[in-house]
Subunit: 212 residues, 2 copies
DNA sequence: CCCGAGGGTGAGGCTGTTCTAACCCGTTGT
DNA sequence: ACAACGGGTTAGAACAGCCTCACCCTCGGG
């Protein structure tokens, strides 16, 4: 039976989700209203099959990438208000299994959770996967090279170290990093490393895991 | 309540589909085992919300495009044996709403039908919608210009007429047509026009859309 | 025989993306 | 002050995709 972890949502949405999931005899809600800071650790504890994330409270879209890297077996379902095709595409490219609109009917959300728990992708009607008319392929998505730089950034490497590892100039690394930050909507490498590692994450309030 | 039309499948699959759909109180099967030749006309008669197509009996992938153009309101769900990411992408770009593997569990197929009936896209786990590593975007998909040529080809225009209408050379039209045929896996414009029009299709052999 | 159609190949121009790199500036920490 | 970082901008080279057109061939029908 698929187990579900739900991140923090708006109150009404959270109540609706709890109700929907608990009413389904084939779904088990193992954690609800988990704050985004604690989602990573809680996934480690509960090992849910499906994780429901709130697109609105994602500090950065890259958090999905971090969670997916930390817990590749957990199926990530992102609930957004009215996700664009590009947003859905980015979510999927960052490891999400499904991306739904909060306007989706309840039974459909439950259905999507079931499908996602078995790895199938579910997308809103607006988001096709490329095709005749759409040309939104790579606008906000990381390029392969950027993904390589991201790996090293997450590992805590300096720009100079990354340049040496990839045999490119430091200016190029800085350009890649800038583009990564912009695409991920974050401000610095601290926003990456804070999310990447799961060991030093402490759930209670304001502890900064890495400051020295 | 969503109504479902099912094309012809292998016997066992067809029996399973009928059983699944008729057991779901929220789905109504209005036609089953419809031969591919008759699907277009039968959609016109029954106006189902969801159409289940058999990827294996698609003479050409372009048939999905034809059905979608003829019946834009019908949600097309394609069942394939083990669809590749490119195949799923092509199905979606041709207007399919979902593309599933026949290995999918029954309840998931029913769930996917429900989601598809409301326009949401469902894809197998193998098929992500673009992203960090995949670059299969446009390999087998029609380009916008090819789609324009396809429209005129379907209307029965000659190469010279198309060239005039699009203000391009006839050699260019021939190139587009060749690429369209290759991408759609067909041999000539006759394969297109035969599928495009629904008037001359005669169904009478299998006139039992509703057995009850 | 000629014309339309289909099939193969190649080529030129255009656009967009990616990768690379350089310049400028300001902030922060030692 | 210096070094590392972040942000902005620009720019060239390489590559892929699309559009356009040209040449070659075969096959059928009037």
């Amino acid at each position: 039976m698929p187990t579900v972890l739900s991140a923090k949502f708006e109150d009404l949405v959270a109540i609706g989700l709890r109700s929907l999931i608990s009413e389904d005899p084939h779904l088990e809600l193992v954690a609800a209203d988990v704050p985004m800071d604690a989602v990573d650790a809680t996934i480690g504890h509960c090992r849910p099959d499906v994780v429901l994330l709130n697109f609105g409270t994602l500090g950065t879209p890259g958090q999905v990438l971090q969670l997916h890297r930390s817990h590749p077996d957990a199926r990530i379902v992102v609930l957004a208000n009215r996700p664009s095709a590009a947003e859905c595409s980015q979510m999927l490219s960052f490891g999400a299994t499904a991306c739904l609109s909060k306007e989706t009917e309840g039974r459909d959300i439950v259905n999507a959770i079931h499908l996602a728990s078995r790895g199938m992708h579910v997308l809103p009607r607006s988001a096709a996967a490329g095709g005749l008319g759409s040309g939104i392929q790579g606008s906000e998505l990381l390029t392969p090279r950027e993904a390589e730089v991201l790996e090293l950034l997450q590992a805590g490497a300096t720009n100079a170290e990354i340049a040496h590892r990839l045999s490119i100039g430091i200016e190029t690394v800085r350009t890649h990093a800038r583009n990564i930050y912009r695409k991920l909507g974050i401000a610095s490498r601290r926003d990456l490393t804070r999310l990447a590692r799961q060991d030093p994450i402490v759930v209670d309030a304001e502890r900064r895991p890495l400051s020295g």
